[in-house]
Amino acid sequence: MLHIKDLHASVEDKDILKGVNLDVKPGEVHAIMGPNGSGKSTLASVISGKEEFEITKGEISFEGEDISELDPEERAHKGVFLSFQYPIEIPGVSVTNFIKTAINENRKAKGQEDMPASEMLKLIKEKADMLEIDRKFLSRSLNEGFSGGEKKRNEIFQMAMLEPKLAILDETDSGLDIDALKIVANGVNKLKNKDNAVILITHYQRLLDYIVPDFVHVLMDGKIVKSGPKELAYELEEKGYDWIKEEVKA
């Protein structure tokens, strides 16, 4: 589904990704872990098409098609979704209006008619209930004054509405207490099926107790330096990253 080969990316002439290789197949869950500043969020942004990053080398293909030149919205239309580490506040646009616009823009891109209002409403209710989101919350301005946990839950709500093929969750666990984490993880697990895939970017193994990865990758200094099964996450939690550094040097 997602094929990244020797990806190099920079921002303002500073190299951040220095040769990332990653293959994600339908039905898989990949966790990307690594110390601060290793390039995890950059990788997420580059896959989603943030313009401030320049791809200097390598390729990103999605379902066999090179997407590295596509606009962020075009990637979204193909089924790429990024749950932001820091969701942006948009005062004056309600959660409901925002998601309606997003859904219909995606449908428009596919040559479909707008979703009928009643169907939209039903879908919104269903997904909000799944994530135990209070209805009142839906009429509030997008992310404005939301707590950290509310923002993250709102991201997963958008994911549930848009049903992407590939969801990249950038530190979705940070700022969540254990109850909220369970609700969010439960939501992601319900959305998971054999045709879609998830990339989890996280510092901690905690999230991986609830969303179990098929693969764990360690990103360090712009490269994936080690990959392994889910047990690798426990090892990292226990021993930190220094031993990997040593291993890489050796």
């Binding site: 989603s48 948009i90 823009e105």
Partner: protein, 437 residues
């Protein structure tokens, strides 16, 4: 002949034909003298530093335009709030159109200034209010000298006017260039409520220069909602001089939506004479090409315990220019004043300019005054966030503009007008979103 000379000689020509009584005639004589001495404002004046009238004054305007055949309602229907019932006072090239208007004298007066100025029964009101809050700056004086026609609205006390009043000034382009000087007098009695919409609309590409003066008197506990829609053709310019006088516990809101026109200058002045007044001045300005809009506001806090709220949002594209000059003057006696002013601007293109100048002059010692002014570009992170959800760049920008302007739109109290404003904004930015903010 310069426009100033032309105006001065035109005044001499009409003076003998004015059907005024002597105090009004004297007032006009005084006003034209004041204009003669001061002339048109120039950039040397501090409050005109960023707005030059030079290019406008070069045109050869017809001061008393010839009349054209009546215009058909179907051709101008879209400029009215046609989906609801309203009172209408309509002028075509400065002359009242009874055909397009819907006035009343039943319990309230929604009619013409010309008849109010000439008929004895209106004399007490004219003597009490006409030119009583308007100041003697040169453009207001010029209007006073020539003032013949405009809206006259008098709402008696305790009257809640059940439908909005529309004041619309059409210009037909009958002549190559026309100068119009409408004059509105609005008196809102004690505890009376009224909603008024004012619009100036050119129906051709010929040049129009409007120098309008509106006086609004809010008596004790009066409630006035006033909306100015400035979405005129690129060849039309307006200098809008509005003066609001407020007695105690009155509430006056003026919203100004500036989307069109060539040069627009809004001199919006509030005077709080009574205690516990509330004044709201809000505006959305969305410009493109070489359009120019200058908001020059004054809130004069004279009495204690009053509030004022200013919220102006500007979005400037292409080589458009904006000016916000917001002056808040708090007199020594105006203790416990709560004055708030906010002005936020987004520059979409490199060539667009905004000059923002908040001025707070506070002579009282127990007041709450705050102001905030921002000038920025679109937040790239926010744009990426919206686009990553599949919303195309243009729509994402539009969504952000709506969000940006929302604090002003949401306080429009007439739903049909709010929908209209939303539509105008959508047209202006070239998108349609499937919802109203």
């Amino acid at each position: 002949m310069s426009l100033k000379d032309k105006l001065l000689s035109s005044y001499i020509a009409i003076e003998d034909h004015l059907e005024d009584d002597s105090p009004l005639h004297e007032l006009r004589n005084k006003a034209i003298k004041s204009f003669e001495i001061k002339g048109f404002p120039t950039k040397k004046e501090e409050s005109w530093k960023y707005t030059s009238l030079n290019s406008l004054l070069k045109k050869d305007y017809s001061i008393f335009p010839k009349q054209k055949d009546v215009i058909e309602f179907k051709d101008v229907r879209r400029y009215f709030l046609h989906d609801i019932d309203t009172y209408k006072i309509v002028f075509i090239d400065g002359v009242y159109s009874s055909f397009l208007s819907e006035t009343t004298h039943d319990q309230l007066d929604v009619c013409l200034l010309s008849s109010a100025l000439s008929k004895p029964k209106y004399k007490p009101v004219i003597e009490a209010y006409f030119n009583k809050v308007a100041k003697e700056d040169s453009l207001t004086s010029l209007n006073t000298a020539f003032a013949k026609e405009g809206a006259y609205i008098n709402i008696p006390k305790h009257k809640e006017v059940e439908k909005p009043i529309e004041i619309i000034n059409f210009s037909t382009g009958n002549e190559a260039a026309v100068m119009l000087q409408p004059r509105n007098l609005i008196v809102v009695g004690e505890n009376a409520h009224v909603q008024i919409i004012e619009r100036h609309q050119s129906l051709s590409e010929n040049a129009v220069l409007t120098n309008s003066v509106t006086e609004i008197f809010c008596e004790k506990r009066a409630f006035v909602d006033y909306y100015k829609i400035q979405n005129d053709n690129a060849s039309a310019s307006i200098i809008d001089n509005t003066y609001v006088s407020q007695e105690c516990e009155s509430n006056c809101n003026v919203h100004t939506f500036s989307f069109g026109g060539n040069l627009t200058r809004n001199n919006l002045n509030f005077y709080q004479y009574g205690e516990h007044c509330d004044s709201t001045l809000k505006g959305i300005t969305i410009l493109e090409n070489k359009q120019h809009v200058d908001h020059n506001t004054l809130v004069h806090h004279i009495a204690p315990n009053c509030e004022s709220h200013q919220d102006y949002k500007g979005i400037f594209g292409d080589a458009s220019t904006g000016v916000f000059n917001g002056r808040v003057l708090v007199e020594k006696d105006a203790q416990k004043t709560d004055a708030f002013q906010q002005n936020n601007n987004i520059l979409i293109d490199d060539k667009a300019t905004i000059n923002a100048k908040p001025q707070l002059e506070i002579f009282a010692d127990d007041v709450k005054c705050s102001h905030g002014c921002t000038i920025g570009q679109f937040d790239e992170d926010a744009l990426f966030y919206l686009r990553s959800r599949g919303i195309a760049k243009k729509e994402a920008q539009a969504l952000m503009m709506y969000a940006f302007a929302n604090t002003v739109i949401e306080s429009v109290k007439i739903p049909e007008l709010k929908a209209r404003i939303n539509k105008l904004i959508a047209n202006k930015i070239g998108v349609s979103l499937g919802f109203d903010v």
